[in-house]
């Protein structure tokens, strides 16, 4: 088992947010498929509801926040209750996202699943980068 720190990934998962499903899906892909051993699942709502564990983790370990819109709930929520994320990703910064039709943003379809792949790859690369520099 690696002694490098785990990286927490916090997805906005917003239910009423155009990119909530894409951010959630990409985050789950990294957590489960791409970097299962290197990452920790962090539940954003638990920050507010009193997840001592989640908050404590995010205070001591590096985190990546993944937001589905410019309201940046994941980044703001994490900073507010724990610490500044190492990397803040906003789906709106992806040109591919703005060209999606509304329906393709909301629910993952073929066109949006490419973006999920791309986003997941980017998150995974950030995980590697963070862990390499923290050696």
């Amino acid at each position: 088992m690696s002694e490098l720190p785990k990286v927490g990934i916090i997805s906005c998962s917003g239910e009423d947010c155009p990119g909530g499903n894409i951010s959630r899906e990409a985050t789950l892909k990294v957590l489960h498929d791409l970097r299962p051993e290197e990452t920790a699942t962090i539940c954003l709502p638990l920050f507010l509801a009193g997840g001592e564990g989640e908050r404590g983790f995010a205070k001591r370990f590096p985190t990546i926040t993944v937001d589905g819109c410019g309201k940046l709930c994941a980044a703001i929520g994490t900073t507010r209750f724990s610490n500044k994320p190492s990397v803040e990703i906003n789906l709106e910064d992806y040109p591919d996202f703005s060209t999606l039709k509304t329906e393709e943003k909301w629910h993952i379809q073929e066109s949006s699943s490419n973006l999920v792949e791309k986003l997941a790859t980017d998150i995974a690369n950030h995980v590697d980068k963070i862990r390499n520099t923290s050696e």
């Binding site: 998962s13 917003g14 638990l46 920050f47 507010l48 509801a49």
Partner: protein, 129 residues
């Protein structure tokens, strides 16, 4: 945005199948036939302290769906000083449908969809008053 006065907020926990079930129930309620009456507001907005979201909740009946006893959705709403009209605790819903244990957080399977439907019914029943 519709003028819906009833707001459903799921926990959407990302670590457990129940989180995805809460989400599925919310989409069933807000996208298939009941959208005039029900809508959802991002729970993360409350975590981030978004004032618009809090103001909207103040004017509405709020229904929360929680996947575990940590009650993130309910507590997050209550901590903004707003009362929850009804909270649905998914393990309780499963307790009366023990054959419908959902799949995983990424694929809740037909059992998860079934549970979500039951949650929708529970909320609709209360909301019809």
């Amino acid at each position: 945005m519709s003028e819906a006065k009833k707001i459903v907020i799921p926990c959407s926990g990302i670590g457990k199948a129940f989180g995805t079930v809460s989400r599925e129930a919310t989409y069933q309620l807000t996208e298939t036939g009941h959208q005039e009456e029900y809508r959802t507001v991002c729970l993360p907005l409350l975590v981030a302290g978004n004032q618009d979201a809090i103001d909207l909740l103040k004017k509405s009946k709020v229904y929360t769906i929680d996947g575990c006893p940590k009650k993130c959705a309910t507590l997050s709403v209550e901590r903004t000083g707003i009362d929850v009209t009804m909270e649905v605790m998914i393990p309780k819903v499963l307790a009366k449908n023990t054959d419908h244990k959902p799949g995983t957080v990424r694929d809740i399977g037909p059992n998860g969809v079934f549970l979500a439907k039951d949650i929708v019914n529970i909320i609709l029943e209360e909301g019809s008053d």
